[in-house]
């Protein structure tokens, strides 16, 4: 019985100075093959200058069902934003 190649997540830096962004995924037998395949699948038109591959099983994702408890607490913390603080209009450079 043949074993399926594992899934890899592909991150590409499109140019120095920018962070690696998630481009998609692909199957490969190992990390080296994943890199080679990523080169062919995602950077055929000079989309990148650097590639990261991470086996998908190593990524732990948050559960959308928990979005309430995870992200809602930030909603009422308006004091984390500059506009919360009232300053006279003639205060400059702030």
């Amino acid at each position: 019985m043949s074993k399926n190649w594992p899934l890899w997540e592909i991150f590409v830096r499109s140019k120095n100075g920018l962070e690696h962004r998630h481009f998609g995924s692909l199957h490969a037998a190992d990390a080296e093959m994943a890199l080679a395949n990523a080169r062919d699948v995602y950077t055929r038109r000079m989309e990148g200058v650097s590639i990261w591959v991470v086996e998908s099983k190593h990524i732990t994702a948050s559960n959308p069902e928990n979005n309430g408890e995870l992200f809602e607490p930030a909603q009422d913390k308006i004091y984390r934003h500059p506009t919360f603080y009232e300053l006279p209009d003639d205060v400059k450079h702030m």
């Binding site: 830096r13 140019k15 120095n16 100075g17 920018l18 962070e19 650097s50 913390k77 004091y79 984390r80 934003h81 500059p82 919360f84 603080y85 009232e86 300053l87 006279p88 003639d90 205060v91 400059k92 450079h93 702030m94």
Partner: protein
């Protein structure tokens, strides 16, 4: 130079270095896996870790007032600010780690006193007004230092600074708002604000670094875009934009020589006591020992928590392994 004995290796590294410098001159970013001169790596580790340490130690003077903030509004704001500073430290430590130094080593350097942090955090916070003065002046000076770093040549540093600067904008405003409230309050409150300005003004000017003629790394740092303006230029910018803000508060800047120069359009200012600055840098400031002790204690007293978390994670892994079998 015909007689110059050609050393192929040094020739090669020279040209690598030339290519490298040319990339930076073209405003290209350097990323961790790119070739870089050892000096570039070392300088960046030093500056970024110093910056990270400053964010971490910087939490201590303000943390001092969280439990005694005068209202829930002020407490929430101060807590959020100090929490941001912790975040800034973490962004910077991880950006620093991309250069091949470990978090443990970085902490070791801080705890042993080998690494420095901004000496402004070695001053005490004796009244609530200090929370206002710090946000207004210390974060104000930090912003002036940090904004140009959003365009620095090392990619991870530049990206960390973009996040930091975005978050920093409320810090200064919350501080200024505290000052404003005090200045519009009772005479005692206004006096408290004036006293805080008196104590924080000069150390804030020192925060922007030694004068240009005493600053040794300026030229190299300019080339690598670790600096876009000299210390003296930054200091002038800080003074020019802060004096009108003090006027709005109705406070007096503690410098009898401060005067607007109609010719240059800038403020002339008095002599800075650099002897004090170097004393504090060398460890003789009012709170150096206290800050280091608080930091080291926090680290050591937290050891059992870190160990327990690791032990728990290992236990879970064993459990999952068993399940899989």
């Amino acid at each position: 130079m015909e007689k110059d004995v050609k050393n192929p290796r040094s020739e090669r590294s020279r040209s690598l270095e030339e290519i490298f410098e040319a990339r930076i001159a073209r405003d290209e970013k350097i990323e961790p896996k790119d070739w870089m001169p050892e000096k570039y790596r070392k300088t960046h580790i030093r500056q970024m870790s110093q910056h990270a340490h400053s964010e971490i130690i910087g939490m201590l003077p303000e943390g001092n007032w969280i439990t005694r903030a005068p209202s829930l509004r002020r407490k929430a704001a101060l807590l959020a600010k100090v929490q941001d500073e912790a975040g800034h430290g973490l962004y910077l430590y991880s950006a620093c780690e991309t250069l091949g130094i470990s978090r443990d080593e970085l902490y070791e350097q801080l705890h042993s006193g080998k690494a420095k942090y901004s000496s402004i955090f070695n001053y005490p916070t004796v009244t609530w007004a200090d929370m206002g003065a710090i946000g207004w002046l210390v974060d104000g000076a930090a912003i002036i230092n940090q904004v140009p770093l959003c365009n620095t040549s090392f990619g991870p540093y530049a990206r960390a600074m973009v996040r930091v600067c975005k978050e920093e904008s409320f810090h200064q405003r919350q501080g200024y708002e505290i000052m404003l409230k005090l200045c519009n309050g009772t005479p005692e409150q206004k006096e408290m604000a004036q006293d805080a300005l008196n104590r924080w003004w000069w150390p804030s000017l020192m925060m922007l670094g030694p004068t240009d003629d005493k600053s040794v790394h300026t030229e190299q740092s300019m080339k690598w875009k670790l600096k876009r303006k000299t210390n003296d230029e930054l200091r002038q910018q800080f003074i020019d934009q802060t004096v009108p803000q003090a006027d709005i508060l109705g406070l007096t800047i503690p410098d009898p020589d401060l005067k607007r120069n109609e010719e240059t359009g800038h403020y002339d200012f008095g002599e800075i006591d650099w002897e004090e600055f170097w004393q504090v840098v060398k460890g003789h400031g009012p709170c150096n020992k206290k800050r280091m002790k608080a930091r080291v204690d926090a680290w050591e007293n937290g050891a059992w928590v870190r160990d327990a978390a690791m032990a728990y994670a290992e236990k879970q892994e064993k459990k999952n392994l068993k399940k899989a079998i």
